[in-house]
């Protein structure tokens, strides 16, 4: 019996058995038909139908949430996953959530600074909906409320890594391996940490919610979501095996938001302590080694209303301590200081039926950017038609400029039920 069948039977059995217990269940969800046209190739590399179903069962003790998601693309097998499946228990001053769940931390929009509990699904680079870019983790999350304070503890039983683009994906970038043409290097699948109590992850957070200033302090001991090269083995005169694995490190951080006149100021920062990174030195043997460096990420953002529209801007800076030019991440150089700006403007028209939105990433060195304009029209009865573009421009060495050939326009029809 394959995994897909097991998931389906589990969902069906749960839906059939639950009415036996006191409570009420609610089905909701979204079906989306999405197609993208790529300008440079004049092709349609993506045509995907997504069924995102949510079943919530409210009982006296709390709530059960099941969130299966199915993706279907032409000439590809159906992909079915149990996106989230958890139970909430509501006690007088404590909420407990157990199961596969997304955890979202921080104040940043489109950036992940303290938002490190749930890894990211980067199979479409960063273009997935903000609601779909995170992957659920198997965890027990406890929130204890003391007046305006919330103490949160999260235990993640099994490490879940990020999802990279598949080998045949247009978002996959070939690794620039540091070997002469005569050498054939094979990158092995990353070795996962053994599933054990010792290898589980732990996160803590203390937050204060108040009109004048809301703040959060958080930290964790976690595995890095992206694999690192752990060894290079000479397997033959002209062959090398590159082994990958995951390394863990602690981090501390925090965020806050506060009103400034009629605008909102947001700030966030995280310090990764002795974060493992790869170093590339062609003159050394092996050429790729592991090092540890402190790394600081900071963000400041401002949201305001003007001319009836919503505006937002953010500045993100990443600093790597004891930096040198050999440091790499996924075979790309790490800068000592990396600067990124984001900009968003959003407005509605026609009695809020039409929403116009522009979100932009701008990387400063090298100069490159991603523009994400979109228009969505609410046809009524939960049906929304959306069209837009993802435009990559600038230096091809940059995070976004390297995808210039993937600039595309998209059309999507969503039905919410």
């Amino acid at each position: 019996m394959n995994r897909r069948t097991i998931v389906f039977i589990t969902l069906l059995a749960t839906a059939m058995l639950l009415p036996l217990f006191a409570g009420e269940g609610v089905f909701s969800g979204m079906v989306r038909n999405y197609a993208a046209f790529r300008f440079s190739h004049a092709d349609i590399p993506v045509h995907e139908i997504t069924a995102d179903v949510r079943f919530e069962y409210y009982g006296d003790m709390g709530k059960l949430t099941l969130h299966p998601v199915a993706y279907s693309s032409p000439n590809k097998s159906l992909e079915l996953s149990l996106g989230e499946a958890y139970m909430d228990f509501y006690l007088p001053s404590t909420d407990i959530r157990v199961g596969m769940q997304n955890v979202i931390w921080g104040e940043a929009e489109g950036a992940f600074i303290t938002d490190l509990v749930s890894p990211r699904d980067l199979r479409s680079f960063i273009l997935a909906d903000f609601t779909e870019i995170r992957k659920a983790v198997p965890a027990v999350k406890v929130d204890h409320y003391l007046g305006d304070y919330t103490l949160e503890a999260i235990w993640v039983s099994h490490f879940v890594p990020f999802s990279p683009p598949s080998e045949d994906s247009m978002w996959r970038q070939a690794a620039n391996l540091p070997f002469p043409p005569a050498i054939t290097a094979t990158i092995l699948e990353p070795t996962m940490p053994k599933s054990s109590l010792e290898n589980s992850e732990l996160f803590l957070s203390l937050s204060h919610f108040a009109p004048k200033l809301s703040w959060t302090l958080n930290g964790g001991y976690q595995w890095g979501d992206e694999p690192l090269v752990t060894s290079v083995t000479t397997t033959g005169a002209t062959t090398r095996d590159i082994a990958q694995g995951y390394e863990r490190y602690p981090f501390v951080g925090g965020s806050l938001n506060t009103p400034i006149a009629s605008a909102v100021l947001r700030m966030e920062a995280a310090l990764a302590i002795d974060k493992p990174m790869n170093s590339l030195d062609m003159s050394a043997n092996p050429p790729i080694t592991l090092e540890k460096h402190h790394q600081v990420q900071t963000l400041i953002g401002l949201d305001w209303n003007m001319f009836g529209a919503q505006w937002s801007t953010q500045y993100l800076m990443i600093y790597t301590h004891n930096h040198h030019d050999q440091l790499i991440s996924q075979m790309k150089s790490i800068k000592e200081f990396a600067h990124t700006l984001t900009f968003r403007v959003q407005d509605t028209f026609l009695d809020e039926r039409l929403t116009a939105r522009l979100f932009t990433y701008v990387e400063l060195d090298p100069a490159n950017a991603l523009f994400r304009p979109s228009l969505s029209y609410n046809l009524g009865d939960g049906v929304i038609l959306e069209g837009g573009a993802e435009i990559f421009v600038g230096d091809e060495e940059g995070t976004f400029g390297s995808y210039q050939d993937n600039s595309l326009a998209f059309l999507a029809l969503r039905w919410y039920f």
């Binding site: 409320y145 909102v264 509605t348 009695d351 919410y416």
Partner: protein, 257 residues
Amino acid sequence: MKRISILMLLILSIVFTLSATELDGKQVMWEVYNRDSGDTMSANLIMTITNARGSTRERSIAQYRQNRNGVESKLMFFLSPSDVRNTSFLSFSYEDGRNDDQYIYLPALKRVKRIASDSKNDSFMGSDFTYDDMGSRHPDMDRHTVLRTETVNGLSALVVESIAQGAEDYPRTLSWVVDGQWFGLKKEFYLPDGSLGKTLTIDAFDKIDGIAVITDMTMHSHKQNTSTRIQMQDTEFNLEFDPNFFSERQMKIGPRR
């Protein structure tokens, strides 16, 4: 001479007597503002938005309100349509005139977000009501004058003209306020050019727990020829809310108490 003096005294005494019992515009609007509306309230709102072509959209909202220590706390859960279900909105409005603090919870994002609050004149959920219309406008924000008395649906109503002190989308309004009960029956909103922008009519009201409640009202925007009807159902007053009900936690849990 003596006859004229007695007549003058009589007239003057009548005038002074009348002046002593009549309230001026400011006093009337303070009576409206301070009218007992319960320290706490919960209700289900059905909002029906009709566009110029006559097609309608409906939104249903569970609303909770608390007035305590000069702060009005409001928590709203959007129950339908499906694309906004379980979205919640929390606001704190202050008697001292400070900007409101507003937050939104989007269930798909699982995050409570503080939103910029300078949006009193913005449309509420795409309707003909603004955020200002949905709240209580402080009487000191306008200059008020009682123009006349009219009978509306058998009730004696004072017609009060209010001129905004600052820049507003509708700098002049006329309110029909039920004399002695201090709730509105009708309100006209005038644009800066003097033309009638929109009209609010109260279609039904009721008394629940001794408190007058508007249960059905319609805002009609004349230029766009659109209208929004709000029906209030299952209204309850003076409930006991948990001290932490108007909070991030409740925004995420939903309307279940």
